[in-house]
């Protein structure tokens, strides 16, 4: 199913920004809020994983219901997860389309990745000290 991807700040995401590699942030930024009717149509339950895809990339998120959303729009808190599917094109404004990407969403049996895993996939290396 096609959706509009809206990304933004949440209070929990804000609270964990000082520890972005920790569990709290990983949990928060890998959530995808969807209208309950859309969930029904996708044939998934709250708490199940979904695969979000577009030409830019793909990412696995967990689906959560939010009646405040309009049908056809999903909301994902800012973070490395959603940025996997955000295009760097700014249309000459300097600003990517953080709130208006078209994405395809489907149920998946794959697991979510943590930010660390996503970064490692990119070639990132955690500091082992501290």
């Amino acid at each position: 199913m096609k959706f509009i991807l809206n990304t933004g700040r949440t209070i929990r995401q804000g609270k964990f920004t000082e520890n972005k590699l920790g569990q709290g942030y990983a949990e928060e930024t890998s959530r995808c809020y969807i209208h309950p009717l859309d969930l029904l149509e996708l044939g998934i339950e709250e708490g199940e994983n979904i695969m979000v895809t577009n030409v830019t990339g793909e990412v696995v998120l967990v689906a959560l219901a939010d009646e405040g959303l309009p049908k056809g729009m999903v909301f994902v808190p800012y973070g490395i997860h959603c940025n996997s599917v955000i295009s760097p094109c700014t249309h000459g404004t300097g600003m990517p389309d953080y709130k208006i990407h078209e994405v395809e969403i489907a149920p998946t049996s794959e697991d979510r990745k943590t930010p660390t895993e996503l970064l490692e996939q990119l070639g990132g290396v955690r500091y082992a000290g501290n």
Binding site: I11, G14, P70, G94, M95, P96, G124
Partner: protein, 430 residues
């Protein structure tokens, strides 16, 4: 235990200055008056203990002196360096950054380009009718939050400056003041509004234009519904705006990141212009990071432009969309980067993060961040507001001195950047 009052929260653009901190054995143990986010910031743990450098794919602890030398080498070696971030540090450090960029001939950009950059583009077209937050607190009987969600992003905004803040002309703010929320989804903020306008995604421009048409007496042109908003509601809202005695429109990245970007903001500004022919109305962007507005101020007085300044030709050159961080990285033009007090690996599109990974990358930040993992060097610094001090500009332009609660052995951003800058001058024989 020591209690310090009237401290400043270095998290969001509200820059709350009434925070009480309790300190025990050189650590902040609790806060008072903070919201959850601010509280987490003050109680943050796990700082990097010393500079670290990635050698053959593994992190090695190094000294500050080695770190400074490495940073200088990496940046001086580049043809097209980018100095990015700045919204999470104090103004004095930002000034050093500008001087550094002059001699590097690089690009200096701040996080504005991915939050309210489009708002600045709109302001540069049509101006900005604004005011300080206390003016709103004391006078405004109508508040509009458009495309922003203060309950989540600026948790004390409503209690300090708007909905719940009593002011001189409003001794019972909650009853005397109306709040309108405009958004594509029913946010927590929308739930406490007197009036919620739900717009279809991408419909902001049309709704603003409709409101302006109604103000100008052209309501017969308006169809029954505009971007999902009924004409009845539009008429009612236009009337609320026109008849209030002081209206304040706050807007967020819901306008700047949506379809239309800076044109949405331009329309909002012109809506406020129009309203000033009927009553008093002001507009304020909800700036996110605590000192992102300061980064704009500093860069404006030092270079002439608020963000995205390119010194590759010696003179300051500004062209957002070309000289902004996202674009420079997406074009793979940038060949070394220094990130100060920001975490682009968490916030930039993946393609830009890949480019950052592929070039020499210096991070100046107290904590291990996502960007750390793809960096080559990180220099830990003191946290402004905790063990470093300096100037910050609130979202309405009020300059506030962010004080420190304690001393530490960490250098401040200003100190470390000055060391790097001085070393560059020395190497270049300037």
């Amino acid at each position: 235990m020591q209690e310090i009052k009237d401290m400043i929260c270095p998290f969001c653009g509200c820059l709350c200055d009434d925070i009480t901190l309790e300190i025990e054995a050189g650590k902040i143990v609790s806060t008072d008056n903070c919201c959850t986010i601010g509280n987490a910031k003050f109680l943050g743990k796990n700082r990097l203990k010393n500079p670290i450098k990635k050698i053959d794919g593994t992190w090695t602890d190094i000294t500050y002196e080695e770190a400074v030398d490495t940073a200088v080498e990496m940046l001086l070696d580049a043809d097209r360096p980018l100095l990015f971030g700045w919204s999470g540090t104090h103004g004095e450090a930002q000034c050093v950054g500008v001087h550094m960029n002059e001699i590097l001939g690089g690009v200096i950009d701040n996080t504005t380009s991915v939050c309210h950059g489009p708002s600045i583009l709109a302001i540069q077209e049509v101006g900005h009718p604004g005011c300080t937050l206390g003016q709103v607190k004391n006078r405004a009987d109508l508040i509009i939050y458009w495309g922003c969600n203060p309950i989540e992003a600026h948790p004390r905004h409503m209690s300090r400056y708007t909905t719940y803040a009593d002011g001189y002309f409003l001794d019972n703010a909650f009853r005397n003041r109306k709040v309108i929320v405009v958004d594509v989804r029913e946010t927590e903020t929308a739930k406490v509004a007197d009036e919620f306008i739900r717009i279809k995604p991408g419909g902001d421009y049309a709704v603003l234009s409709s409101l302006r048409a109604i103000l100008r007496g052209k309501s017969d042109m308006i169809p029954d519904s505009v971007a999902g908003v009924s004409k009845t509601q539009l008429m009612q809202v236009a009337d609320m705006c026109k008849t209030c005695s002081f209206g304040a429109l706050f807007f967020g990245v819901g306008l700047t990141m949506a379809k239309g970007k800076y044109k949405n903001v331009r329309n909002a500004i012109e809506f406020v212009d129009d309203l000033n022919r009927h009553t008093k109305f002001t507009l304020t962007p909800m700036r996110g990071h605590w000192n992102v507005y300061g980064a704009n101020e500093v860069m404006a007085w030092m270079t002439g432009y608020p963000y995205a300044v390119d010194f590759c030709r010696g003179v300051a050159f500004y062209n957002p969309g070309e000289t902004t961080a996202i674009d420079i990285l997406a074009r793979k033009e940038c060949d070394a980067c220094m990130i100060v007090a920001s975490d682009p690996a968490a916030h930039f599109p993946r393609a830009c993060v890949e480019q950052l990974r592929d070039i020499p990358l210096v991070v100046i930040d107290p904590f291990e961040t996502m960007t750390t993992t793809i960096a080559d060097l990180q220099i830990p610094v003191a946290v402004t507001g905790i063990d470093a001090e300096g100037t910050a500009y609130r979202m309405d332009g009020i300059p506030i001195k962010v004080k420190k609660a304690m001393d530490s052995d960490y250098p401040s951003d200003t100190e470390i950047l000055t060391r790097i800058y001085n070393k560059m001058l020395e190497v270049k024989g300037l």
